[in-house]
Subunit: 235 residues, 2 copies
Amino acid sequence: MHKYSKQTRLLLAVDCIIFGFDGETLKILLIQRGFQPEKGNWSLMGGFVQPTESIDQAANRILKQLTGLEGVYLEQLHTFGDTNRDPIERTASVAYFALIDIHKYETQLNTEYHAEWFPLKRIPKLVFDHQDMVEGAKRRIRYKAALHPILFELLPTKFTIPQLQTLYESVFNTTIDKRNFSKRVLATGLLIKLSEKDKAGSKRGAYYYQLNMQNYYAKFQAFLNFIPNPDTLHL
Amino acid sequence: MHKYSKQTRLLLAVDCIIFGFDGETLKILLIQRGFQPEKGNWSLMGGFVQPTESIDQAANRILKQLTGLEGVYLEQLHTFGDTNRDPIERTASVAYFALIDIHKYETQLNTEYHAEWFPLKRIPKLVFDHQDMVEGAKRRIRYKAALHPILFELLPTKFTIPQLQTLYESVFNTTIDKRNFSKRVLATGLLIKLSEKDKAGSKRGAYYYQLNMQNYYAKFQAFLNFIPNPDTLHL
DNA sequence: GCAAAAGTGTTGCTATTACACCCATGC
DNA sequence: GCATGGGTGTAATAGCAACACTTTTGC
């Protein structure tokens, strides 16, 4: 027995929405598409799934190609499969989103792809259905961040509470009372206070914190409401 | 300009996890696979994406083939793409989950596929990676139901509060105080009390309710916690 | 008349919000 | 010495959980 005869095969691609936080606003990394069609237009970083790799592996490969990074937060978002989304040939695309520490991003890789960071509020027109992918990723990151501590993935190992607060305010486009915010954050037990201070943002300096990885992994799936005894949830 | 030459095409399939609620427990609908490989073994309902249809359309088509139903709740879950998940030929599969009113399911379609409902706790061994798909769907339905009122999709148009509570208890595998539950549910404004009673479950009878569709659509994206002013969320 | 399920209110507690002042330092 | 951002506590409120008895009716 060999093949499923009479079935049509199609191209399968991966596209990555790469988030970064520069201390001010949330941004995504876009490239200028290097081949036809739509050559030169702004696009997500993507590529075709190869015969020897899983889709997850393809996503990791593509992320590394552009950023030089491995082992960062990468999650499958949604698969886009309208028949005519690529005018050349039918191609389904599995979108992934990544959260990276923007400082670890190696700018030199830029040149090959003409990559640039764009604030979420100033995304240019994108090729194909990439605009929909970005919209989906924005929704998903908010959704997930409202329930799970994923935003730490956007920060360096050492960060301050004001930095963290700015990040949350940026993602949710809101303002938060700093007393309540720090109480809440510290109450999670996710943070370890360091003795060192960050003097960049202010004269007095703000204490650095780092993640308590033990608690981070343990509590990653926590939170939630609505159901009385959430101990039974185990998402 | 014609094709992306030198790229490998592959098969794209859709598999559906179909949930139903019989008043007692949450169940999924499985079929006996009708062709090789793994012919005769328990499987999710699935099929290949055709050249003329989008992936969503393929999922709806496959769901209708097995259940006779259209226009029901159907959501993309995840795409599975390990290189060797199908031993015959590389096939990626987009998993969808559906929530249907089990009473609308047309049993006569059964015969062709030898379909059967299985309680979530008694799922037989499944072909390929379908076990993983079911696990993912279980997690997703809980996750989503904890935040959004999707479980109504599993009930008939008219239902009672005790029925609804049993459903929640079944999905979350927990018990809920009925006074608190009815308070909470009624406070959402999602329900309209009917004058008619369901006398099946008890001698006294329980009032039927139906969804206030206006509020249902409006509040579908509501709920949530953790972020102070959730009005800015707009998931 | 009794068994079985439906329906309903109150109270205590916990979590969340709102809010204002002092501190440390570089210039 | 003053401007800038960092750090901290308390009181009022709202939301949530715990809890028990009465009602209806088929048998």
